[in-house]
């Protein structure tokens, strides 16, 4: 019978279509690069086991994000059980762009200043390109709720980022001023 090869083909198409999205999502949601890789594998193994439940087309992407969110949450719960220090995970910034330039550093610092919920909804929109309805499906809330959270998160990010940029600018100006040659 051709059921198994067809199943495998569908799974391969799923990874080819949405694997990069889930890798990206897990990279900023998980606690470390290795956790991110484990999470991606868990998400797609879940998809393999439950392939019949994975919707067709673009809805599969939302299904995968929702699954990834649960997988990462489970990872965090087990980490907390292992070490109380891991409670700090909720405050951790995304783990990507370790060699980021200054702008990326400021972006990540601004993201770090947001609450976990704000950060999640903002990045689902800005990095993952999900609509409010899709975000609501991933988070399990009403679309109006997602839309409201997104609005607040965008406002808070913008404020945090602009403050950081202004502070950075002031610091650079002061440094340049100190480096000016003194009166001879």
């Amino acid at each position: 019978m051709s059921a198994e090869p067809e199943r495998r083909r569908r799974f391969d198409r799923l990874y080819a279509s949405y694997g990069p999205d889930i890798v990206a999502y897990c990279s900023w949601r998980a606690g470390s690069p290795s956790d991110a890789q484990d999470a991606v594998a868990d998400v797609f193994l879940t998809a393999w086991r439950r392939l019949d439940a994975v919707p067709e087309g673009a809805e599969a992407r939302v299904w995968l994000y929702a699954t990834a969110r649960r997988v990462v949450a489970n990872q965090r719960r087990s980490r907390r059980r292992r070490a109380a220090l891991q409670d700090r995970l909720e405050l951790e910034a995304p783990t990507v762009s370790l060699d980021a330039d200054r702008e990326h550093e400021l972006v990540h610092e601004a993201l770090r200043r947001l609450g976990q919920r704000d950060r999640e909804v903002l990045l689902l929109s800005e990095w993952e390109g999900l609509s409010p309805a899709q975000i609501a499906a991933v988070l399990g809330c009403l679309t109006v709720t997602a839309r409201g959270r997104l609005h607040r998160a965008r406002r808070r990010f913008r404020t945090a980022f602009e403050q950081l940029v202004a502070h950075d600018q002031r610091r650079n100006d002061e440094r340049r001023f100190r480096e000016l040659p003194g009166p001879s």
Partner: protein, 319 residues
């Protein structure tokens, strides 16, 4: 340059997809998955959500015998566990048969009077939503229709159908868009909500009523009205199909009385939740056998006019 725009441009530039090594990370993850798949036993095919409607009916007959033989009298003990399993099995079968098509009739009564009502019919991606009770504007029967990727609505001025275009093309900029409403309605009618509820009923008892079995118990209001939102500046909780939960149902910890009627074919016929002077019922019908809605022959092109014809989608933002 606009500072706000620059903030978000900077944020987008920091997307991990643009980071060095991202393509390698995707490739590496794919390799890791392939390795773990090779170690994973071949999954057994789940029965839920894959059964064709005709097969569901055949399976349901057997399942019903199993379920009925395991239900004991009320009072707890092993029978309660069996009743939990039986009602969950019924919800699973219902979800499977609802996957393709069906009809859900939602009724809310208050003090014995009809407060709100909606009939939702779906067949694949086609869907019709009709209000069956007068809304605050005094109109009943206004509706929403999606056929072959096109959405139709009622023109409030004439009552006739107008073509609104693809669901995703309509965005009133605030509130729930029609497309979002349709997605939520499909989740509610597709059995996901029912499956969630059946696992959380407390003090479950089972009583035969003719050819049906009625499972009764209590459930925390937060499990029924799970969604949250804001209306007119106040936090609200929302019942399936988009109705605001009032009084005790608005308190997530309140125990509400719930009754699930399962037919002789082991498919859920009715979900009834009651609290105080309120009752909320969802009656399922024609699961797997509801015909697709047809496009209204007399639909006119959309004339947005000064105010536009699109109001709030029915149900989701009502009451």
């Amino acid at each position: 340059m606009n500072a706000a725009s620059e903030s978000f441009r900077a944020l987008r530039r920091a997307n991990p997809r643009g980071a060095a090594g991202f393509a390698e990370a995707v490739e590496s993850a794919g390799g890791a998955i392939a390795g773990r798949l090779a170690e994973t036993p071949r999954p057994t095919r789940s029965r839920s959500r894959v059964l064709p409607a005709a097969l569901v009916a055949a399976v349901a007959g057997t399942a019903a015998i199993v379920a009925f033989s395991t239900i004991s009298s009320p009072g707890g003990g092993p029978g309660v566990v069996d009743a939990q399993a039986a009602v969950r099995k019924a919800a699973t079968l219902t979800a499977a048969s609802a996957e393709r098509s069906g009809t859900a009739v939602v009724r809310i009564t208050h003090d014995g009077r009809l407060w709100a009502g909606t009939t939702v019919r779906w067949n694949g991606k086609d869907l019709s939503v009709a209000r069956d009770a007068p809304d605050r504007a005094g109109k009943a029967g206004s509706g929403l229709l999606v056929v072959a990727g096109l959405m139709y609505g009622r023109d409030p001025r004439t009552g006739g159908w107008v073509v609104l275009g693809p669901p995703e093309s309509v965005d009133p900029d605030s509130g729930t868009t029609p497309d979002e409403y349709l997605a939520a309605a499909r989740e509610d009618v597709g059995g996901a909500t029912l499956l969630r509820l059946t696992g959380r009923i407390q003090g479950l008892t089972a009583v035969r009523d003719g050819g049906s079995t009625v499972y009764r118990g209590t459930i925390a209001a937060g499990q029924i009205a799970r969604e949250t939102g804001f209306k007119e500046g106040e936090a609200i909780r929302v019942l399936p199909f988009g109705y605001v939960a009032h009084d005790e149902a608005a308190d997530p910890s309140s125990p509400l009385d719930v009754a699930i009627t399962v037919g002789a074919d082991d498919v859920v016929r009715k979900l009834a939740v009651t609290w105080g002077t309120w009752s909320y019922t969802v009656t399922y019908d024609g699961l797997g056998a509801t015909p697709a809605p047809t496009a209204p022959a007399d639909a006119k092109p959309l004339d947005r006019g000064p105010a536009g014809v699109w109001g709030a989608p029915p149900g989701r933002s009502a009451d």
